[in-house]
Symmetry: C2
């Protein structure tokens, strides 16, 4: 396993971690000043600054992407809504290409309408079918553009409203169905927050192997967790054995960035952005 | 599948559903008045009234148990703590026997200390090993007494602090390891709240079969869910397709009670107990 204790060359910052404090151009500059080599931005943060402004700022600072967040949200109840979702995913692929992202992360969606509190139905199998079809269609486009897709299995507590792909095994089954040749065009984003509890985690990471392991996200699971969405912890502050999971990833061939993604309305989003980045660097060295 | 629409003979009330409103003896009486034939009480509620008083009240009213809540909480960091946990589980088995419960439900425990906010370590594999050993020891005693044990896989959001058995597949793997002969002494409690999201749910219920399916708990998953523990919904108010899961249970041979277990600090625990029971009866007929 790579030794992270001496530097932070394999640290990436998912820009949701600082979404409350700074706009994306400021995040890029602050990362550059600290020798952070990679980020993973969200589409709304890119749009707020401007896609080409961001692309230029990345070139100017030499910062690269470890991923682009996010495509997905495929399930729908009408043909029109399905087409809108696919069109939006094609735009996300294009943006990822413009930013030279190594992958577009897919948060696949749950029951249609559930995120707005008005689920259209209770048929999670149908939602999963929509997801398979949506990924298949997006994959055809993404292959042509040259942007790999990374399915991110989300914690089962998000099955209703955010993603009905909830285990690494399920994500890899989709990958095997849609990309049996393991071409590199389709894989997974492994976020420790979503998968740490899974008794099959080690086996499924090994199954994935290098061609499928496109991204690695870190944070921590706090005890107690006070909010389902925005109470993630800094690495080392919770109960996830992050180094163990990184070891499994690297044993399977992963050699990319460790991307810090923390949604924290009551703690990290309330702190000074520079302090957050400095703690990310320190914990990357000591707790990842 | 049995038709529940005409009566509520297969309704059981898990008494946590009314723990804020009434003591257990009152719950028993109120259930009896409504023709509810079964309950599943918690140990603290039994202790508050007195074990033998409860046993007598059950005989007087003719109400039977669909389960007894709960044993488990096996992981520990010292031999003494392990022994205390095993002794406590033996007492739970004895109480279940006194109450003529068809099974003792096991909430197996997570990382030692995590429920108190002070996890002793981050080794969930070690906690799972403790759980296996604890169930094995308790099973030997429970067999001699004649009380089946029902492992309840809990939702992965409880992996840290309440139960590190988090999927039906994992629970059934434990059953197969510890009771390969499928004797009826060890099985599972299937709670829709914990397992509804699982893409392997149908297959694992079929795998379990009648000898392993010892209990069936119902409530609903609300969108949004505002609290990890106490924001469960009444059947029909959320996104779980409860009848679909009951169908899978019955196709696999289950023919027991449908047990309503709702932790709801902001809604059902604030309502009149009689109203809650009446709604349970109505929803049992319309939404289970």
């Amino acid at each position: 396993m790579r030794d992270f204790s001496g530097d932070h060359r394999w640290l990436s910052i998912n820009t949701a971690t600082l979404r409350v404090q700074w706009p994306l151009d400021r995040i890029i500059d602050e990362c550059a000043q600290r020798g952070i080599r990679a980020i993973s931005p969200w589409r709304d943060q890119v749009a707020a600054v401007g896609l080409h402004v961001v692309a230029q700022r990345l070139r100017d600072t030499g910062i690269e992407l470890s991923g682009y967040c996010r495509g997905g949200m495929f399930p729908a109840t009408t043909p029109e809504a399905r087409q809108r979702a696919l069109a939006d995913n094609r735009r996300a692929v294009d943006e990822a290409k413009t930013l030279n992202a190594p992958c577009l992360v897919l948060v696949v969606g749950g029951l249609p309408g559930a995120l707005d509190g008005t689920p259209a139905h209770k048929n999670i199998a149908a939602a999963r079918s929509d997801v398979r079809d949506g990924i298949a269609a997006t994959l055809a486009y993404a292959r042509s553009v040259g942007v790999p897709l990374a399915i991110e299995p989300l914690h089962p507590m998000y099955a209703a409203d955010r993603a009905c792909v909830n285990t690494l095994e399920q994500a890899l089954d989709l990958c095997d169905e849609l990309d049996p040749e393991r071409s590199g065009a389709l894989g997974v984003a492994v976020d420790v927050y979503h998968v740490w509890w899974d008794p099959k985690l080690q086996a499924q990471i090994a199954r994935a192997g290098r061609p499928r392991l496109l991204a690695f996200h870190v944070c921590d699971w706090l005890v107690p967790t006070r909010d389902l969405l925005t109470d993630r912890g800094m690495m080392g502050d919770g109960v996830i054995d992050v180094p163990q999971i990184r070891r499994w990833m690297e044993d399977a061939g992963f050699s990319g960035y460790s991307e810090v993604e923390i949604f924290s309305s009551e703690n990290w989003w309330k702190r000074d952005g520079g302090e957050v980045l400095d703690v990310c660097i320190a914990r990357h060295r000591s707790a990842v």
